[in-house]
Each structure stands twice: as structure tokens, then as C-alpha cells.
């Protein structure tokens, strides 16, 4: 038995993609993530993944599985759903999106259910944003808006707020931290100032703040909420404001229009001072899916290739609107699909390719287990600020998603060419 060894890796447990962590590798297992992180450890698991290749419930060869998957998917070309799940590297997403293009498929991603409002707000108004290092190096005021980084991004405070930077030589002491709690969302321990807003008051609070910041006007005090004028003054007096808001884990009762309000506030702050909005996104390369779809199609999510060109159907939720398709290809980690969505596609004949694909249930025609991005598979994943980072696998896996999907892409392409000849 080999001696356990400690190796570096990039953690995909949340959108921070901490690339300074180490783990202990022993045989086929992995443990002991350092620095310790609840989400990171949960993401890491034991490192064990199944390695089955199945077609119609039976173990088959890889070639037979690819052939069966190709047959199912090409026979329903134009009426296929491709779900590009979390947990795929850019290198695996490339062939997956190529397959969707060739099949003229409707695609869906985790974005449509969890993070669409922020993207749509950005497309209407633009953005005032920055990479994470600007928060670390410059932000003298950090405003957490309904965000709870200790829960969703456990090392956010340590890596960025407490850390020293080029313009923040005293780390946490160089900054004023303000926590705005909205309903039950958001609480930052040891904030220098805190504010509590009702869910119903969130949009008007953002509007009031923006109004004060933009025009110096204090609106009708009856509409004002205690503390907002003071907060606005604190923001405009800063040298560099970081607004930190949750991109996908918020209380569903909160208004989705808050995304636009936050962008507008961040933009408005750039007249009296400088400011950036940091949107906390989950891990497993969710940002990478959006980035790749954008460069290949022009759209970050909800891309529908039906009709032979990419179309942007932001109102369409592929997973929940499966009536228009005859088969589905689920790639990445299917276990992230909400149960209601899984139920909606339960009867649809499916090909599943990803970690623990063989554990999926409901009309599974083909299942090919792969390793997990970042643990068994190298490649590229994107951080929540769209910075791409390399992944260094620490364990051997059954086979990479990139390899499986490339083989499927080739087989689909060959099949369609032969059919057209």
C-alpha cells in the first residue's frame, strides 16, 4: 500500500474555486481537505466513484454504449434535450455543446433555475464588477447584501476580507464591513454595522440608496428606512466599495428584480467613488458553462439549437418543459437536478454521462460513469468572477467526461453524415 501523500488541488465546492488547498491521497481515496472547509469537504467526498457502463440496464462495452446513445439521440434529432450539468470541465463541455449543436437540441443548465435573473439584469443594464482580488486589494467598504458567505462560500472572509492587499495593508482593519439582512437572508458575524430589511422593502431600499448616491437626494423620509441615508453616506465616502450579494442561494420569496437594483446601485456608485458588485455563485464550473456557451453561441444559458441556429429562449426551462422533446442527454452531475425537474423528465428516454450516471433512474437507456472534474479529471474550470483556473486531478477515475463526450460527438457526427450521404 502506498504511503498517504498530501497534494495540492483546486476545490470546486463553491464558486471561489480555492486553488490553494491540499488533500491527503491514499490509494483510491482522498480526505483531509486543508484549510478545512465544510463545503469543500462535502464536495470532495471520499473520492470513490462508480465505473459502470450500461445500456438498457445491462453492463456493456464502451463502444456498445456509445453506439446505443448515438442511435437514440440521432433518431430524435431536432427533438432532444441536452442538460449541461455542473461538474464538467471546459474540455468536456466543448464536445457536449457540439453534440447539442449537431442534434439541434434544446439545452438547459443549472443557470436557468438558479441564476438567470442576475444575467438578464446584466444584459439589460450592464455590469459594474471586478475580479476577487480587487476586493482583497482595494475594498475599504464591503457591503454584504442579503448574503451569508460563511454558509455559501466559507473561505470568502478569510481569503478576501481579512486578507491584506495592495491598498488594504491592515486586512480586515482596513475595511468597514456592513451587513444588510433581508428577511432571513444574510448575516455576517462581526460586521461593523448591520441593517435589517423586510423582504418587501428590498427593492425600495435599493432604489433609495441609488437615488441618494446618484443625486444626493434623500427621498421622502416616510419612505426611507432607518439607516439607509447613513449607509449611502458610508458608501459614497469609500474609496472602493465591494457589494457582495448572493447569485443563486437566496430566499425565493425575495424579488428577483433585486439583481437589477444591485447592478444599478453598483453602477451609480461609480460616479462619486468606485464600486464593484460581486455575485456569489456556486461551484462545479457553473460560470464555465455560461462562459463557453457565450463564446460559442453568443448566449450564456437557455440556448436552443432547434431550427439549426442558436436561439435564446430565456423563458424556456428545458428540464421542465420536456413535452417538446423525444429524448434527453444529461451530462455532468445529474444529482444536482431538482427532484421536481427529474420527475418532469422521468419518462423521457435518456442518456446519462457523468459521475454516478449509473445511479440515475427513469427510462435510462445508456449510462456511462465518469470521474469528477477536479478530483479525477483535469482541465479548466471558471471561478465566480469568470477567471479560469487549471484543475489538477489527484485520483484516477473510470474515464473522463471529456473523453466520453468526444467519442459521442464523433459517433453522432459520423452517424448524421452517413444518414445524409
Amino acid at each position: 500500500m502506498t504511503e498517504p501523500r498530501r497534494v495540492g488541488m483546486t476545490c470546486l465546492g463553491c464558486g471561489l474555486l480555492c486553488d490553494d488547498v491540499t488533500v491527503e491521497v491514499s490509494g483510491s481515496g482522498v480526505s483531509g481537505l486543508l484549510p478545512a472547509c465544510v463545503l469543500g469537504s462535502a464536495w470532495l467526498g471520499s473520492g470513490a466513484v462508480p465505473g459502470h457502463i450500461r445500456s438498457a440496464g445491462k453492463d456493456v462495452t464502451f463502444e456498445a454504449a456509445i453506439a446505443a446513445a448515438t442511435s437514440l439521440l440521432t433518431s430524435s434529432r431536432g427533438r432532444v434535450l441536452v442538460f449541461l450539468g455542473p461538474g464538467l470541465t471546459i474540455e468536456a463541455l466543448r464536445p457536449a455543446v457540439a453534440i447539442a449543436d449537431r442534434l439541434q437540441a434544446t439545452t438547459d443548465t443549472a443557470t436557468s433555475a438558479a441564476a438567470a435573473s442576475g444575467i438578464l439584469a446584466g444584459q439589460r443594464r450592464g455590469r459594474a464588477a471586478a475580479t476577487l482580488g480587487e476586493l482583497k486589494n482595494r475594498a475599504d467598504v464591503v457591503l454584504f447584501w442579503g448574503a451569508d458567505p460563511a454558509r455559501t462560500h466559507p473561505r470568502f472572509l478569510e481569503r478576501l476580507v481579512e486578507a491584506t492587499g495592495t491598498h488594504t495593508p491592515d486586512g480586515r482593519a482596513s475595511r468597514t464591513v456592513v451587513s444588510v439582512r433581508i428577511g432571513n437572508d444574510g448575516a455576517v458575524d462581526a460586521a461593523d454595522a448591520s441593517l435589517q430589511l423586510p423582504v418587501a422593502g428590498e427593492l425600495s431600499a435599493l432604489s433609495i440608496l441609488r437615488s441618494i448616491v446618484a443625486g444626493g437626494l434623500v427621498p421622502d423620509t416616510t419612505a426611507n428606512i432607518a439607516g439607509l441615508s447613513e449607509l449611502a453616506a458610508r458608501l459614497t465616502a469609500a474609496k472602493y466599495v465591494a457589494i457582495v450579494a448572493d447569485g443563486e442561494n437566496g430566499d425565493p420569496s425575495r424579488p428577483s428584480q433585486r439583481a437589477e437594483g444591485l447592478v444599478a446601485l453598483a453602477q451609480a456608485l461609480n460616479t462619486p467613488t468606485r464600486a464593484a458588485l460581486f455575485t456569489l455563485r456556486s461551484g462545479d464550473n457553473r460560470n464555465g458553462v455560461e462562459s463557453l456557451l457565450t463564446w460559442q453561441t453568443g448566449y450564456p444559458f437557455a440556448v436552443d439549437f432547434h431550427g439549426g441556429v442558436p436561439a435564446y429562449h430565456t423563458g424556456l426551462r428545458g428540464l421542465e418543459d420536456a413535452g417538446s422533446v423525444d429524448s434527453a442527454l444529461l451530462v455532468g452531475d445529474w444529482r444536482t437536478i431538482p427532484p421536481a425537474s427529474l420527475a418532469a423528465i422521468a419518462a423521457l428516454p435518456k442518456v446519462v454521462i457523468g459521475p454516478a450516471a449509473s445511479g440515475a433512474a427513469g427510462a435510462i437507456q445508456v449510462a456511462i460513469d465518469t470521474g469528477r472534474a477536479g478530483i479525477h479529471e483535469g482541465g479548466t474550470a471558471y471561478r465566480l468572477d469568470d477567471i479560469p483556473l487549471p484543475l489538477a486531478p489527484v485520483l484516477d477515475g473510470p474515464r473522463t467526461a471529456a473523453m466520453v463526450l468526444s467519442a459521442l460527438e464523433e459517433a453522432v457526427d459520423r452517424s448524421l453524415r452517413e444518414a445524409a450521404a
Binding site: G122, R127, A129, R274, F305, Y312, I387
Partner: protein, 547 residues
């Protein structure tokens, strides 16, 4: 090209200015993807009689593959929806990839459209080092062109510290390390010092000797340090400079001062049109002053950054200028500050011929072309997608070659700010096909130091564009009869036949290893990325050599 395969492009009228060929009927011979002196009789042949043969186009300054481009793409779903692009049907029953167009097309569409114009080599002119990995991913999905990128250094925190400390040698070594780490081709400077200032209460630097904060760093110091670094490292392309005060009335003073600061040193100033506005209040042309300087200084080269009427998207590392554009236009606006390195600003715009400033910018660009005495140093560009799409190159070529078309167009534009423009004085110059071949391929290839590009001499890459002669110059250049890439027929009569993967053009300059521990230490303190994860690895081909 399949090993051993050959092709003779027979009987075309060849424009190969790098080899002194100006409209001579001759054959161009190709073997194994390269130009050769001759081929045996009976070799496969492409009939080009009556047609115009040039090297493949070389774009010295475009924005096609960067994190900034991708932020711009994301911002413009309405443009993509208006310009969907089906997957092309290629030779052999193969199918390409679908995509979308607009001012910032998707990657596959970008490659196909450049190929369709007869361009075979393109440089992205501004990439943030931290996002170099992203650029290379985009380039891997941009077929048909050989591609490289210029690396933003003019606001780099570590570099500015070295300049502040007077460490010119270490700054040069750092620049070399950074080029190698990012898979870059040239040093890019954007608004030297001004983008760093934008992140502070100082907000911008507008004078060449204005210090950055409390440091001793000035735009002049940055320009001198990086110009000398590029030259000392013998980089094939000079430092590529986007000067301070882009787009501001009266900015010619800054531009001329920047020229003077670097007088006698090899340097390339980019999108000069945006830096050519006269002093004395209001908007006016200063093209003559700048052209006089450029004409008299052979060490200097420029590209024009022509404005073409229609939609555009401004995408630049120059964050403060985009803020001004946002405030003045009321359009949607993206600003993204990039830690320790640079910035990114995006505002979609439209240049309208009835708008006085747009018309002035259009006229200034044409003046800069028409007043240039040495076309080898004045390159065609629209700063795609800033002044307009690269798809407008054929119309621009027509404006340069056909005075009648140009004068008719001039009558249609807003005249309010054109007083003093040389264009109104009846500039009668008409570019020849040979001069067009210089400003679109031979010149940029030479300025980029690409010995195998931009010409049709033996040993050159067999990237060749063949045009059918037409009276309508714009139509002629918009749809080449044939485009060959590495000797393969890539485009035929407007149809894409092949979508080959292009080569990556990048350098690995040498540097003193002693600089690396210091860079690592800087990273460990201030970056959010581990030093070992910063360099790009696994590029599809090896680096180009440096003489």
C-alpha cells in the same frame, strides 16, 4: 495540406509587395502548405487567369478572443438574435458549427467570417494576463485563422512597482516572463497608468508627466520602459500602444507628446484616429499634424482604427474612457476591474453619418490613410468592434481606392465639424491594389515580424486570397473567389469548404530566472490565484522563435 500535395495557382495577376511584385501575371506554386519556387509540369492547378492574387490578410489589431469580448458578447443578446448563423456545410459531408453574429460574433462565426474576407491571420490586441487561459480557449474555438494576442502590461501592479523603483532591467525580465506565461505575442499598453488610476480616487491620468498617486510612475515612464523592453528583447512586434486620453477633444497634444517621448525608438501606436482630435476647443481634425510626424519618423508605425457608419461595440481595457462614454451616451455599460493588471469597459454604440462627431471620426480615419506617405507603416484596422466590424473592411478599401465613391459619401455626412479636414481640400489619392495589399497583409505582417506571412515568396505559409476583378471594389473584397489556408482550398466562391484549426502565434522570450522568486512573492501576497496556476500550458503548437 496533405503531405506531398501540391497546387499551382495559375495565371493570376499577383500583388506581392514584400517581394516587389505589383500586378504581374505569374503562377504561385504550393507544396506541403508552403509557397515554393516552382512545381513540375502537370501539377494540380487552379485557374486564376484574370483574377487578383494576394497573400492572405493579416489583422494587426482586432478584438476577437478575450474575456472582454466574451463580456461584450453576453451583453448583446439582441444583436445575436438579429444575426443567427447556421452551421456551414463543408466539403466531404462535414458540418461546421452554428453561431451568431452582430458586432461581436461567436467564436466559430468569427473564424468563418474572417476566412470569408480572405483574412487568415488575426491578433487579439488586448488580453488581461489573468484571463490568458480564457483567450486560448476562445482561440481554440476560432477556426480558419492563425491567431495570437497582445498582453496588457501598462497598468500592471508589479511592473509599476519596478518602474517606481527604477528597476528597468527587472521590468524587462518581468515583461518577458509575463509574455511567456500568457502565451502572448506582443506587449500591449493601454492608457498607461490611467487604468490603475481609474481604480483609485485619481480616476485617470491625462498628462504624460502626471504621477500615479504618490509614486514616481508616470505615463511617460511606463511608455519608455515597455518600449525599451520590447526592443531589448528583440520582440518581433514593437510595443503596441493605446495612448492616454483616447476619444477626448484636443488629445492630439498627448498623442504628439507620446510620439516625441519615444522618438527614435521602434513603437506602434494603435487606432490613431481615436487619438487625432485637434486642440483649441471643440472637436476638430488633427490628422495632418499626426501624419506629418508619422511620415517623418520611420521607426514609428500605426494602425488607423477607422470608424465605419453603423453599429459598433466599444470594448477596451481603458475603463475611464468607457465610463465617460456611458455617462454621455446613456447606453448600457460594463466595467470590470481586473486585479493587479488592468480593466475592462464596454459600451455598445452606433456611428451615424448624420452625427457630427461620428462624421469627423470617419473623416479623420480616411485622412490618416490618404496622407500617409509610407503605407508600410499605416495599417488598415477598424479596431474591431470599436470603430466598426471587420466585415466593413471591403467598404473601407473601396473608400480608399475609389475617389468618386468617397466624395459621394462625403457629401452625405454631417459637415459641421469637418472644417480644416484635409478631406475637404480634395484629397485625390486613390490607393492601388498594390497599396491595399500593403496595408492589409504585407505591411502588418512585416510590422509583426511574421516572416512566413503577408507574402508569396518561397517558404511563406501558403495563405493566399484570390479575388475576381469587379468594378465594385467593395463587392470584390467582400467575397473572394478562393481563399487558401496552408495550401488547402478553404473558401470557394463565398462558400466555406474547410474550417481548419489555425496555428497559435506566441513567444517564449528569455529572461533572468532570478526575477521569478520575486514575482512569486508578489503573487503570494496580492493575487487570488496561485502562482503555479497562472501560466498557460498545453498550447496546441510550439512558440515562434525570436531572432
Amino acid at each position: 495540406m496533405t503531405p506531398g500535395s501540391t497546387l499551382r495557382i495559375a495565371g493570376g495577376t499577383v500583388y506581392d509587395p514584400a517581394n516587389g511584385v505589383d500586378g504581374e501575371v505569374r503562377d504561385i506554386c504550393i507544396a506541403d502548405g508552403r509557397i515554393v519556387a516552382d512545381l513540375p509540369a502537370g501539377s494540380p492547378s487552379l485557374d486564376a487567369r484574370g483574377m487578383v492574387v494576394m497573400p492572405g490578410g493579416v489583422d494587426i489589431h482586432s478584438h476577437v478572443a478575450s474575456s472582454s469580448c466574451n463580456h461584450a458578447r453576453r451583453l448583446l443578446p439582441e444583436q445575436h438574435a438579429a444575426d443567427p448563423v447556421p452551421a456551414p456545410h463543408l466539403a466531404g459531408g462535414h458540418t461546421g458549427r452554428s453561431g451568431t453574429g452582430g458586432t461581436v460574433p461567436s467564436t466559430f462565426t468569427t473564424g468563418y467570417r474572417y476566412a470569408g474576407l480572405g483574412y487568415t491571420t488575426v491578433f487579439d490586441a488586448a488580453i488581461a494576463p489573468l484571463t490568458a487561459r480564457h483567450t486560448h480557449h476562445e482561440m481554440s474555438d476560432t477556426p480558419c485563422i492563425d491567431a495570437g494576442c497582445f498582453v496588457l502590461m501598462g497598468n500592471d501592479d508589479y511592473l509599476l512597482r519596478l518602474i517606481d523603483a527604477g528597476e528597468v532591467g527587472r521590468a524587462r525580465d518581468y515583461a518577458a516572463w509575463l509574455l511567456g506565461a500568457t502565451g502572448g505575442y506582443a506587449i500591449k499598453v493601454v492608457n498607461p497608468g490611467g487604468v490603475e488610476a481609474w481604480k483609485t480616487p485619481q480616476r485617470n491620468l491625462t498628462r504624460l508627466d502626471e504621477p500615479l498617486g504618490s509614486s514616481r510612475v508616470t505615463p511617460r515612464g511606463i511608455l519608455e520602459t515597455l518600449t525599451d523592453a520590447a526592443n531589448a528583447l528583440k520582440l518581433p512586434h514593437a510595443v503596441h500602444i493605446h495612448a492616454n486620453n483616447l476619444g477626448v477633444p484636443g488629445n492630439v497634444a498627448t498623442t504628439l507628446e507620446s510620439f516625441k517621448a519615444l522618438e527614435g525608438r521602434r513603437a506602434h501606436f494603435t487606432h490613431l484616429q481615436f487619438h487625432a482630435y485637434g486642440t483649441g476647443g471643440g472637436w476638430k481634425s488633427a490628422a495632418r499634424e499626426l501624419s506629418d510626424w508619422v511620415n517623418a519618423h520611420p521607426e514609428l508605425s500605426v494602425d488607423v482604427g477607422q470608424v465605419m457608419f453603423g453599429p459598433a461595440t466599444t470594448v477596451t481595457a481603458d475603463g475611464p474612457v468607457e465610463y465617460l462614454l456611458y455617462k454621455s451616451s446613456g447606453r448600457k455599460w460594463v466595467n470590470i476591474d481586473i486585479e493587479l493588471e488592468t480593466g475592462c469597459g464596454i459600451v455598445p454604440l452606433e456611428f451615424k453619418e448624420k452625427a457630427a462627431v461620428s462624421a469627423l471620426q470617419w473623416a479623420i480615419g480616411l485622412e490618416l490613410f490618404l496622407l500617409a506617405k509610407d503605407p508600410w507603416r499605416v495599417v488598415l484596422s477598424t479596431d474591431h468592434p470599436n470603430g466598426g466590424s471587420f466585415l466593413a473592411y471591403p467598404q473601407l478599401i473601396q473608400l480608399l481606392m475609389d475617389r468618386t465613391v468617397r466624395d459621394e459619401r462625403l457629401k452625405l455626412v454631417n459637415q459641421k465639424l469637418l472644417a480644416g479636414s484635409a478631406l475637404l481640400d480634395g484629397l485625390d489619392r486613390q490607393f492601388t491594389l498594390g497599396e491595399i495589399a500593403i496595408i492589409t497583409r504585407a505591411g502588418p505582417a512585416r510590422l509583426l515580424g511574421l516572416r512566413h506571412k503577408g507574402h508569396l515568396g518561397a517558404g511563406a505559409d501558403a495563405d493566399v486570397t484570390v479575388y475576381s476583378r469587379q468594378d465594385d471594389i467593395a463587392a470584390m473584397f467582400a467575397s473572394p473567389r478562393y481563399v487558401l489556408k496552408q495550401g488547402e482550398l478553404m473558401v470557394e466562391e463565398g462558400h466555406l469548404r474547410l474550417a481548419p484549426t489555425g496555428r497559435r502565434l506566441y513567444l517564449r522570450p528569455g529572461y533572468d530566472d532570478a526575477v521569478v522568486p520575486e514575482i512569486r512573492s508578489h503573487f503570494d501576497r496580492y493575487s487570488t490565484v496561485q502562482f503555479d496556476h497562472y501560466p498557460v500550458q498545453g498550447l496546441p503548437n510550439g512558440p515562434l522563435g525570436i531572432d
